[in-house]
């Protein structure tokens, strides 16, 4: 069954939404502000796909994705959330600058990825399953260091593309960084300073209050459940 969240003038009709005209997945998407702001009335012109860097390299078509979420077909939506396609967007947001209707497929993607993770669907695609590694690398870095990335996270052994200068810089560490004015993990002013435990505790409290740990539990939990099932 095709269900639309939009009335004829493209405005979201909250009354209809509340009367359970939407599918469960569409309701979950609609709870995300980025979904509501990112898609109001797509006319499927395909400008987003034409300019999208990810569409040049992958089986990825933001125009088609907008079409699926706009029609609201539950089965198609579920297939989308279980597939690789939603994980191909590179979040450059070039689509935002160009859509003649002011839609933002990049925001729609963020909402789709969130729903995919919270419902465990991401585990059914190869690209989705990679979220665990990103969560453990970047998520943990934020809470343990206060930085998304820092030199010790970019190990030259797994970053051969960084080249010999990076391997050299990484090896020199403080000896090199400090002559460029960096604090390099010391308790001092300036770049790469050691972020105090009090500050990290504040970040942890924010993550707790705002639902980040629930998302992380969904990512870790689904991985654990799948692993246990495989072992059984």
């Amino acid at each position: 069954m095709n269900l639309s969240i939009n009335n004829f003038d493209g405005c979201v009709n909250d009354k209809l939404i509340n009367e359970v005209i939407m599918s469960d997945l569409l309701l979950q998407l609609h709870e995300d502000l980025r979904f509501r702001e990112g898609l109001s009335a797509c006319m499927n012109c395909g400008v987003c796909t034409a300019l999208c860097p990810a569409a040049s390299y992958f089986e990825y078509d933001p125009r088609h994705i907008c079409q699926i979420v706009q029609t609201g077909d539950e089965a198609e939506l579920e297939a989308l959330l279980k597939g690789d396609e939603i994980w191909q967007c590179g979040q450059c947001l070039s689509c935002k600058a160009r859509c003649p209707r002011g839609n933002v497929p990049g925001y729609v993607i963020q909402a789709l990825r969130r729903v995919s993770q919270m419902n465990g669907y991401f585990m059914q695609s190869e690209e989705g399953r990679k979220q665990l590694r990103i969560k453990r690398a970047i998520g943990h870095s934020i809470l343990t260091t206060g930085y998304c990335v820092h030199p010790r996270l970019v190990d030259p052994a797994v970053h051969p593309e960084q080249g010999p200068v990076w391997a050299w810089a990484n090896e020199q560490g403080a000896e090199l960084y400090k002559q460029c004015g960096s604090a390099f993990y010391d308790e001092a002013e300036g770049g790469l300073r050691k972020i105090s435990q009090d500050v990290l505790n504040e970040l942890g409290s924010i993550f707790y209050e705002t639902g980040a740990f629930k998302l992380w539990e969904a990512i870790e939990g689904e991985n654990m459940r799948t692993k246990n099932n495989q072992e059984r």
Partner: protein, 352 residues
């Protein structure tokens, strides 16, 4: 009439009093860039640029790779703004282009959805007992350098001109996607005619060279670069740009985004080793500089204190064209004295 048409592509930038927030990527790969920027602003222009060492990442890389929820990023941003409010500032100066987009996005959400602002205030108070005000101005560091470009150029000992021929050096720019593609009216020149870098190049005497893929993404792709097996996406996008700029034989690539600066530098090495090809005539690659690095270099700062030895594509050919006075023998010096330099790539030519 023409000037009125272009007015919407201009941006108001305050002259002074900023609260500064750093970039994770710039601190990691180009530690001298922010140091030099602060020196330029504080020591050359005598500006009041305040930094609170309790500020953190904005979570931007985690947010755009979908492991940090919107509400979390919004509240971390609110915490940074609380530090700014506590310090008595209302102008935010942002080093990172991803962060710049994040700050603009969160403030835009609060503007259109006051209920989200209230929820953020409540969450921040509950988590940290802090309160915040929305900044009056959000300015990227490239905006501020552009704003003061004439002052810098008037004091600079060097110009973007070939010392031997007297001709302007040919420069291609790459403006980070999140600088003006998300909120075009918040960047100089908008998404269509970004002038934040080309204006700086012109003021320093260089020749801006247009190229077909000028607006194409560098290919960071957030999750795609973070995942080793997905990095083909990233390098392929940069290759599109290099192939596009190659026929115009640029002397320099200039950027304003720390990620773009790193990728456009590193991927030239990777592509050289993978394909045996460089995008310049001499096999050395096209040098890449960010707006602060370029400005500091023009202002006569020591290239090695500026951290230019941490670029994979070496800067010496550019320094020699400009006529920068530098000490080649000190390139790999460390705090404790002379050091040994990096290993040599197989294809990309470097100076041993």
């Amino acid at each position: 009439m023409k000037s009125l048409l272009w007015k919407e592509y201009q941006k108001e930038v305050p002259d002074d009093k900023y609260f500064f927030v750093r970039s994770c990527i710039r601190q990691t790969f180009f530690p001298g860039a922010e140091t030099s920027l602060l020196k330029l602003l504080r020591e050359e222009l005598k500006l009041d640029i305040f930094e609170d060492s309790r500020h953190t990442t904005c979570t931007g890389i985690g947010y755009h790779s979908d492991v940090v929820p919107l509400e979390t990023t919004m509240t971390v941003v609110a915490r940074q703004l609380a530090l700014m409010t506590e310090a008595g500032y209302s102008n935010l100066l942002v080093s990172c282009v991803t962060s710049f987009g994040i700050y603009l996005e969160m403030v835009e959400v609060w503007h259109h959805h006051p209920e989200m602002l209230e929820r953020t205030r409540e969450a921040l108070w509950k988590a940290t007992r802090r309160e915040f005000e929305i900044p009056e101005f959000i300015v990227h560091t490239s905006d501020l350098v552009y704003h003061f470009r004439e002052e810098f150029a008037s004091r600079a000992p060097y110009r973007l001109v070939n010392k031997e021929s007297g001709k302007p050096l040919r420069v291609v720019d790459h403006v980070g996607c999140h600088y003006a593609k998300i909120f075009p009216d918040r960047g100089f020149g908008g998404a269509e005619f970004p002038s934040v870098l080309s204006g700086l190049v012109e003021t320093f005497g260089g020749e801006n060279v247009d190229y077909p893929e000028r607006r194409h993404c560098c290919g960071f792709g957030f999750r795609h670069y973070l995942l080793q097996e997905n990095r083909g996406y990233s390098v392929s996008n940069s290759r599109v740009k290099f192939e596009s700029m190659e026929p115009y034989a640029p002397d320099l690539i200039v950027t304003n985004c720390p990620g773009c600066n790193m990728f456009l530098d590193r991927w030239q090495y990777t592509l050289a080793e993978m394909n045996g090809k460089t995008y310049d005539a001499d096999g050395r690659g096209i040098p890449v500089l960010s707006h602060e690095e370029l400005t500091a270099l023009m202002m006569g700062y020591d290239p090695w204190k500026l951290g230019l030895q941490m670029h994979q594509v070496q800067l010496e050919p550019l320094l020699d064209k400009i006529g920068v006075v530098y000490e080649p023998g000190k390139k790999y010096n460390l705090l404790s004295g002379p050091g040994k330099g990096p290993e040599l790539p197989e294809v990309l030519k470097v100076i041993p």
